[in-house]
Symmetry: C2
Subunit: 411 residues, 2 copies
């Protein structure tokens, strides 16, 4: 018998009307004879409301108690969804993370799932009940309530699917699938029927914020087929597979991801000595600032220059630290730029094909777009350009790699 895990996010359960609609969707699947497990988030706005209450009491609320507090958000949703299901004749039973039990470590606010006991859920499924589980939460060995961090409901759904050996994990969102790129930037963007886990990982980490990265990693690790669908429209969505199918049928690249949240810092004229890179980046990391792209070059005078990007919110702090490092190292200058954008082309197909990078650079050059930084991974090529060229670059690359076309692309 087919076993499906569905996940509905905060917007999908954001009102009584929306919860009724979700109940209808769940009931429809249940009536086909499938076993159905549903993971849900808090109603949209609820988590923020709870956090505001806590902020009224303390600027740095106790982390254990914050988890007790915000975990109520999903608990409300599981109860309401079960009430809605029961009222239309579907037997349903809710479980909090502690009840399932979803065992996590004790890192409050960012716990990781260690184990899920599927026994109780299987008993309910065998009795013909729909099981509704609170996303985003669990309990540690001592029974303390933990949360997986915001957006963690995706991870709950995937972990449930893995533990229950589900046939598919369906993530319902406010988009109807994964697109070749953001349709707001390139109207010709096309919904992908399939994408591999690796590609999805690269897309997600680049700002295609459909799924939490951790949930995709989880799905890949446990071979859980993941499907992204719209909770507002009908449609098959996008299936994220762990098989690469037959390589031949894969297009060269699957999508274009981009990001405007970063800023760039450059330090020039540093002595080209061992340990210099560590001194520069180490000082930034020590301040808990995450560094993304890092590029280092050696100039003709044997002095080195290094450029890296950080989140724009961290630019000011990073610049102060970097200026101190520059003084310590006797470097020439520090410059910063926050009018940058990062664009990546992603595709497992590029693994076995040379020339993809060249094709990308040529396309950008043909539009007069200067490339400031380049980094590459096995299935991704990333460039940093001036922010004002972002939309033009996305459309140019989308067209250069024929992303509006379905099916195989010849190189």
């Amino acid at each position: 018998m087919t076993l499906i895990v569905q996940k509905y996010g905060g917007t999908s359960v954001g009102s009584i009307e929306r919860i009724k609609a979700v109940a209808e969707k769940v009931a429809k699947l249940h009536r086909t004879g499938a076993k159905v497990v549903v993971a849900v988030s808090a109603m949209s706005g609820e988590t923020n409301r709870l956090i505001e209450l806590a902020k009224g009491l303390s600027e740095q609320p106790n982390l254990r108690e914050m988890d007790v507090l915000v975990a109520t958000g999903e608990q409300v949703t599981i109860a309401l969804l079960c009430i809605a299901l029961e009222s239309i004749g579907i037997q349903a039973r809710s479980y909090t993370g502690s009840q399932v039990r979803i065992l996590t470590d004790n890192a409050h606010g960012k716990a990781r799932i260690r184990e899920i006991d599927g026994h109780r859920i299987h008993t309910d499924l065998d009795a013909g009940r729909v099981v509704v589980v609170a996303g985003f939460q669990g309990a540690d060995e001592q029974g303390n309530i933990t949360t997986l961090g915001r957006g963690g409901s995706d991870t709950t759904a995937v972990a449930l699917a893995a533990a229950l050996k589900a046939d598919e994990c369906q993530i319902y969102t406010d988009v109807d699938g994964v697109y070749t790129t953001d349709p707001r930037v390139e109207p010709k963007a096309r919904r992908l029927d399939k994408i591999t886990f690796e590609e999805m990982l690269e897309m997600a980490s680049q700002g295609s914020k459909i799924l939490q990265i951790r949930s995709v990693e989880f799905a890949g690790k446990y071979n859980v087929p993941l499907r992204v669908l719209s909770s507002f429209e009908e449609g098959a969505g996008t299936l994220i597979t762990f098989e690469e199918d037959v390589q031949m049928e894969n297009p060269l690249i699957s999508g274009i991801a981009f990001n405007r949240d970063e800023a760039k810092l450059t330090i020039r004229g540093i002595p080209d000595q061992p340990g210099v890179a560590y001194k520069v980046i180490g000082a930034i990391s020590a301040a808990n600032i995450e560094v993304d792209v890092i590029v280092q070059n050696v100039a003709r005078d044997n002095s080195a220059s290094m450029t890296f990007t950080v989140h724009r919110n961290d630019l000011k702090r990073s610049a102060e630290i970097l200026k101190q490092t520059a003084a310590d190292l006797g470097a020439l200058e520090v410059t910063t730029d926050e009018r940058i954008a990062k664009i990546s082309i992603v595709g497992v197909g590029m693994r076995s094909h040379a020339g993809v990078a060249a094709q990308m650079f040529e396309a950008l050059a043909s539009e007069g777009i200067n490339i400031q930084l380049i980094t590459t991974s096995e299935i991704k090529i990333t460039v940093v350009i001036e922010e004002r060229y972002l939309e033009l670059a996305v459309r140019t690359l989308h067209s250069a790699f024929d992303l509006e076309q379905t099916g195989v692309q010849e190189v």
Copy 2:
């Protein structure tokens, strides 16, 4: 070391400011070196908000899921109170009913406590922590969330006090103690320093709605000293004791309770035969209507008449049923009256003193107040009168029994 269980109701924790004030009260007691356990209700309005959400989905929401839903109300409060305590330097730890664990039967919405495991709480108390427990909730043997019914937080506090062998259970409310009668009716009403459990039971069941009856029964059963105090004002409140102290020192009566929620039904001219009372009252009970006072008399013609009271909301339905019964029995007539009030004088002192009833009836007669029904128990005498005389009757009895005076009353 002194161990105190405190309970704060919904109004006492109704806002962030109120929660801060409760934290200060708890901290003050904790700083005296006492071990402190706190049971709390949901913030006022929260439980109703949750119920309204469920009502939007179903007219008769699934009971198991209603418990999952409303239990979040107290869970929010325990987390917020702990955050408030930690922010003023008091180590605190919250527990839901499931976590403690407060084991109940599985009667969702009206569960009864079977057992409390005090082990985890004692460990925290020994480590110098304040323990904050969600009132009103528990879990059954299978770990399903249950609730004790509305107002059940008092019961949680008393059960905790019993399980932990606390020195005192302090119930913080919006009144500063138990009064000889309602001060809104008799401005001379006096706060009692002490009252016995039996008296409190009779007072509470008559509408002095300070404490849930079940919590008082519980406290009596387990010999838990109970104190009612105001969470808004300083003061010693009223201690509810299980000792009757020395009988000599008890006043004759302790208080006057009253109730305007009832209506009266009379059936006249029924054949005076065995089984008639059962036919009349049985038909009402079968409709799940609670009957309070019942009085039966036999008239000169050997026909019987019976009068009883029900909640005013049940009057119409009761009258319909009674008319049917009257037709079946060949009774003469059915009359109803909803302009009635019930007044009781309560006191363990009356056990050993004759003449209390006479003194009560004399006082009412002296003001021209007609008594329609009389019932008595060991420590209570109840009369039903016309509603318009209620305030006059309360003041008359308050004065007749010298309730404005502290100390011993001579008979």
